[in-house]
Symmetry: C2
Subunit: 530 residues, 2 copies
Amino acid sequence: MAEDFMPIDRRTLFARIGKLAGAAVMYEAMASLAHAAESTFTGPIGLTGAPKGASVLVLGSGLAGMVAAYELRKAGYKVQILEYQNRSGGRNWSLYGGDTYTELGGFTQHVGFDKGLYLNPGPWRIPHHHKGLLHYCRMLGVKLEPFIQINYNAYVHSTQAFGGRPRRYREIESDFDGHVAELLAKSTQQGKLDQPVTKEDQEILLQALRNWGALDKNYTYAKSLEASDHRGFDHPPGGGLDAMPTPSDPIGLSDLLRSGLWRAIGQAHAFDVQQSMFQPIGGMGMIGQAFGRELKDVTRYNAKVTAIHQDDSGVTATFVDTVAGGAPQTAHADWCVCTIPASILSQIPMNVGKPMQNAIYALPYGASAKVGLQMKRRFWEEDDGIYGGITYTDQPSALIGYPSTDFFKTGKGVLLGAYTFGSGAVDFTAMSPEQRIAKAVEYGANIHPQYRKEFETGATVAWHRVPWTLGCFGQWSEEMRAAHYNDICQIDGRIVLAGEHVSMIPAWQEGAVLSSLDAIGRLHKRIVQG
Amino acid sequence: MAEDFMPIDRRTLFARIGKLAGAAVMYEAMASLAHAAESTFTGPIGLTGAPKGASVLVLGSGLAGMVAAYELRKAGYKVQILEYQNRSGGRNWSLYGGDTYTELGGFTQHVGFDKGLYLNPGPWRIPHHHKGLLHYCRMLGVKLEPFIQINYNAYVHSTQAFGGRPRRYREIESDFDGHVAELLAKSTQQGKLDQPVTKEDQEILLQALRNWGALDKNYTYAKSLEASDHRGFDHPPGGGLDAMPTPSDPIGLSDLLRSGLWRAIGQAHAFDVQQSMFQPIGGMGMIGQAFGRELKDVTRYNAKVTAIHQDDSGVTATFVDTVAGGAPQTAHADWCVCTIPASILSQIPMNVGKPMQNAIYALPYGASAKVGLQMKRRFWEEDDGIYGGITYTDQPSALIGYPSTDFFKTGKGVLLGAYTFGSGAVDFTAMSPEQRIAKAVEYGANIHPQYRKEFETGATVAWHRVPWTLGCFGQWSEEMRAAHYNDICQIDGRIVLAGEHVSMIPAWQEGAVLSSLDAIGRLHKRIVQG
């Protein structure tokens, strides 16, 4: 929810780190971003009956802009898109070998990934309940494959716990559940439950806790085959002789609590990352590319909008062709759907009323940075048995994302070597691309020593240095929502805004899609009903 | 573990069902089968230096037999496989359209699935830690794709709870966690913890419980946006106006406990089904097929072994060609790896010592049945938003498995409409294939009413009616393990047994692989060292 995105000042952040003795505060930021959101999408919007000759100018060919252009054109409107970049998709974007990317500050990266490998600098996964986005994937023929979010064999890591040695996700999950189950079972057995729970319910509760927490017959979470059936064995069961399993030692309750690693496991429960999840085969950017092909005829690329003006006759956007150059040009239509991020739009003169203008000015953009690292071999699979999923760390790099594709393939692979938010992202953004990549390698090597030998080349995007967004996502606080959200959604004269920043699902593509559908639905109604 | 597989007599079973007011006892059987097992596989076996001219006869071309034949041939042995069926793979098997299968009792099924659709009658998923099996998949070039085990959007269903309406997995999981977290948080706050937990640890515990259980600021699991962020919203967050989410109502603790549905969620924790998991693209049978091609030159199909005799000169198997007919023939080698299931082997004369013979006689085989149902369209995805994963039910069909392939594809699909163990499997086995299919449709329609309109054709395998296994897997009890397991593993003269029944990972392919590697490792050592 919105309140999760409130910036934490550095002092508070470090105080909390101190208090938890190395608890991985980054987990919280990740969990927050993972919160919120199912889709309100109930089916194709199916607009019809545009007035003859009516036209709409769409600013921005990200997902919100393309959804608007596609559906309005289908409804009979004359549609034109102006796009700053030379490609469609916006934050729906994959970086491939051969791509060139220049960020603010002037650093240019020539991406050196091998063919078939990529980094998704922005969104990288699609929840199964993001029905709006999934509808367009289906419509555009974008093929999807499962995205592995939770991997019990991946690591959770804190520099402050267990001597900096990573633990398997399964150990932390099983031990947390086990200790919780034991504590509650003991309280139940001793009649210490606070709430009135009937004797019969208590019996069922004990049974449930034993089953769920892998307790032994005394309701203790102990070194046992039961517990090892959850957390893993010292010597796993095998075949033939020497096949008898031996149990492993659970982490003690106090060590577990003080490690802070329990923060990582709550995330599996968040609605937005619950199995099953998906990703486009070949990179998230496949959606933007397919949508762009669909709308090629109505899209003008390399068009930098410098002013937006509305009057009784319609809306006029002034723009500069960033490649051809020359004098400013204009595009005109009866109506305008503007999907330019507020971070950019606040710098473009536009004659809308105070309420919308204030909302645009007020909204800050969240910081985030990603680093992709090409490795000579897929050692995380070959050596560590980690196939997809995420390793969490309290280092500033926050996590390692393992590719959910090309499983068991020999040869190279690209890891997501860092995915940071908040203060970690600010630090990464302050670095040059080379420094970011070097840092991601340094942090990662504390978990996978193989990094040192296998790292080959990297690519990185720090969203506050992206010229066309100046940030990652609209970072609404609860107070800002109360003050401005309603205003940013309204149709102002002939202009309506759309994008993830005009939604309750910030930072997710579904927010952009639903925002766009809501905006054009209302706009169309306004136009048709006059 | 082994003790989980102990057969439950019907009276006990029904008594337990009664006691739990409709608790889904089937979940227990499923959870039990899901227990046990990591792999002890540490790398290719790499046997070398077979004595010149030494030969090994392998009986059965399931995974255990083919691993043995492949590795022994590589080590320099002269190898021959006798196989009862006209194909390799054994229980590694997929049924495709056009296949014909005749079970004991004489029922013949002509499988009517469309091209590309299949049922895996036996194994259907590969845990990421089944390293032995994964090694052979890699070696054979069998391509794997993710198998979705846990799907928060799938259902849990009890005919005795919530008026027979299925609930989403996410609701049960979130509500169980939430209530457990609240109960323990309250006990903690009121100083009622049984164990000595320091004040500092208690503070961390409260923080962890709140995060993990989605408790509100009063440590209550209530109708709230926090809880809905786990269990789902009444009105989910959306885009633009009307985007504000509204929370959903958690199920009360008593209703939840009495529903028995909590039994389903413990399963996600079991080692053998922890993400990530895999399946061969195109059906589990791809492994057996690929292995069979590799060993084609040394495999004799349609060879029904009727006697096994060893003496100082070697081992002789007498067999009948079930297609060509004619007089019994013999195959002879210096040594023998016998992978024929104990259920069949107990009926074949074989001169081994009492200990091995007793073990073979003693081991019963577990019951299981599966039903595959072809549907005209993938309504579980299109209507219910369920992409892969499993719905659990307390009906005799036990579960519905949704295909982990062809996601988002239009057109037909094959559901696993029933996967039963224990008494449910005995009931299913007693039916004709047509009846089994009809029952699976009937049970499934209580969860997905679309079954009635969309069902097209089915296929089913009840393992006690499979002529070449007479059961699903070696069902060891703890007592039987103690009495016989060591004996069944020993090399008896020139004969060694292998298969899942000679492992501590019953019913899993990894058990067969590891058992075979253990057997041939010891056999080779015996041969070389004399």
